[in-house]
Symmetry: C2
DNA sequence: GGTACTTCTACAATCGATTGCGAAAACAGC
DNA sequence: GCTGTTTTCGCAATCGATTGTAGAAGTACC
């Protein structure tokens, strides 16, 4: 199938390709006579012309494309973020380009390289580790970059995240109000900002409530996954820490926690209350429905896209970070502790 | 940031850009003296050269890119497909480009247009409707195209799907063996191959079991969604059809069905057994864990990518379709009917 | 040493658009 | 009718690679 080229449109309209180009681009349209422009339009429509964006990109060195780095699309957390990003970008003519890295730095590097080779105009990155030299380098190189959901240690890279501290605080308040005093925390990976922030917030909020935030009440999971959650929960038991409630660093850890409770013959919420984090899709349908800190992932993605567009439109613009408020979705996994 | 160009590499190596290009491409590397090639390699490495794939695409009119059309990424069905496609493609240097269409033909058309403008080398399409002139046109245009999960009515477009008929048959056999005789089917949208095939298979399999496949035992849902499933299930009750088991066209319909059962005070599986379709992620954790026909989505995606690669490598190759076998994941939503 | 091949490299065109610059045309003013 | 502006358009270069072709360098053989 031979695509129609600008030259053919120009020929049909009886003008030079340069003129056709100007007529077809809104920004330069004023430079050409209205009647001529109309003639070009007509020719383009008749021939079914669609611009070759590759040629355009080569010349303009902009691709109307942004790179979106994800750890793993099959984690239900991310599809809403992707949709948020995509919906906002598409409205202004940009398209996101998604690559999964499975949290492997090598693949992250390869993805960035690939994106660079394709001249993406900017990055939205959900794979940030706290220490992430690659991203620092990208940011330093001048390519617009916005982090979603996770941040890096250095604060000068713009990001859109949920207010983890407030979320943890709300969740603990909820448990406290139900009467829980012995609460443990299944923390996420500590090399990720979410894992770290929630862990720190746990300690802080416990202290604020006048409860023990003894280090042994916190177990670090190796990953944000169900098996890791199960393993961490086993740890809790091995340590022999008394508890009536669990605050999981995210919903997957909470599901792993469920597994251990069941295996040990403990019932939720009768014996143990569990609170998750993220309020991921379908988590309201598990047994028991999980009480979880709702993170507005779609909005996080959308807001990240907006921040990126700001910088794309005005590179001088000072990048800013956004922290979105979280709410608690109270469901059947939390109740008063056994008397 | 100024990217390094081939010309600079050539200069540093003391050769012509054309020679540098040949040295760097494995296919043409034999045409240049081994020592010269090594010199070029070294220069490229020293300068940190990465080829500008936009320029390359413009010249070669291949982009090492394929377009992936999805209805909606947030449907848990699709992420595994995406990963399957991506993993296979990436291994050979292709990247998928994802667009969500939300099942709107307009957006599908726009997406195809956008893909064309970006010169994708092929399409993987998960949005096919039975009647889909757009896709027929794409196929006719010569651009390689593989359908995943869904097919179109005309059989000459290659596709990778699950064996719906066998899946339905297995599911019904399971219910039959448990003792169910009064079974209803919540069918999916009939303009999609999956909805149609499963509906037809239901009638056939019921007859094969010597059971009534009366049309009133089948309700068509308006969409593959929980609300549509709930609505369809309400229909079943309005019709007053006696039943002890429900075969849902997919898991989301089954979840909608759960809602109605609960609202009506019916317990699953005590009063009513429910079987879903797809065995989507986390469906084993809902209450009760859903018995579901497992569809190997990752493999479907991977196989689709392989088919596409076959055609990309040898355009003369006759496109073939693949039907993957399904299995039944038996869980807690099915049991013997009440006595 | 000359002829006939190979092997290697350089030249230049090309992909399809965009854009600075200059010239032609149109127009205004006197 | 002439000069000075403004409008409109065409020319040609350019983005960064790939590739057909031609010529130079090197080798083999008599």
């Amino acid at each position: 199938m031979q695509r129609v080229t600008l030259k053919e449109v120009a020929e049909r309209a009886g003008v030079h390709p340069a003129t056709a180009s100007r007529a077809l681009n809104t920004a330069t349209r004023g430079l050409v006579n209205a009647q001529t422009a109309a003639r070009v339009d007509k020719a383009a429509r008749q021939l079914g012309y669609t611009p070759n964006s590759i040629a355009r990109s080569l010349k303009t060195s902009r691709s109307s494309t942004i790179g979106l780095l994800l750890p793993d699309l099959t984690n239900p957390l991310f599809p809403p973020i992707v949709r948020g990003v995509e919906d906002v970008l598409r409205a202004v003519g940009y398209s996101p380009w998604i690559i999964n890295t499975d949290n492997e730095p090598d693949r992250e590097a390869a993805a960035i390289e690939s994106f660079r080779g394709r001249s993406v105009d900017g990055f939205v990155v959900a794979t940030a580790r706290l220490q992430d030299p690659l991203l620092e380098e990208v940011a330093a190189s001048g390519t617009p970059l916005v982090l979603v959901n996770r941040r890096v240690a250095s604060p000068d890279i713009p990001s859109v995240t949920g207010d983890d501290a407030a979320g943890v605080s709300t969740a603990l308040r909820h448990l406290y109000d139900l009467g829980h005093r012995d609460i443990v925390h299944l923390a996420g990976p500590q090399d990720l900002s979410t894992g770290l922030a929630r862990r720190q917030a746990f300690r802080q909020a416990m202290e604020d409530l006048g409860l023990s935030a003894d280090p042994e009440r916190i177990v670090d999971a190796a990953a944000w996954s169900e098996p890791a959650g199960a393993e961490a929960m086993e740890q809790v038991h091995e340590r022999g820490v008394p508890y009536t409630a669990v605050l999981a660093g995210n919903d997957l850890l909470a599901l792993g926690c469920y597994d251990i409770l069941e295996r040990r013959g403990l019932r939720c919420p009768t014996n143990v209350s569990v609170v998750g984090f993220n309020d991921m899709p379908f988590i309201d349908r598990v047994a028991p429905p999980l009480t979880s800190v709702r993170v507005p992932h779609y909005e996080i993605g959308a807001e990240a896209a907006r921040l990126l567009l700001e910088v794309l439109e005005d590179p001088e613009r000072h990048p800013r970070s956004v922290v979105l408020p979280l709410t608690l979705s109270v469901r059947g996994s939390t109740a008063s502790p056994p008397a």
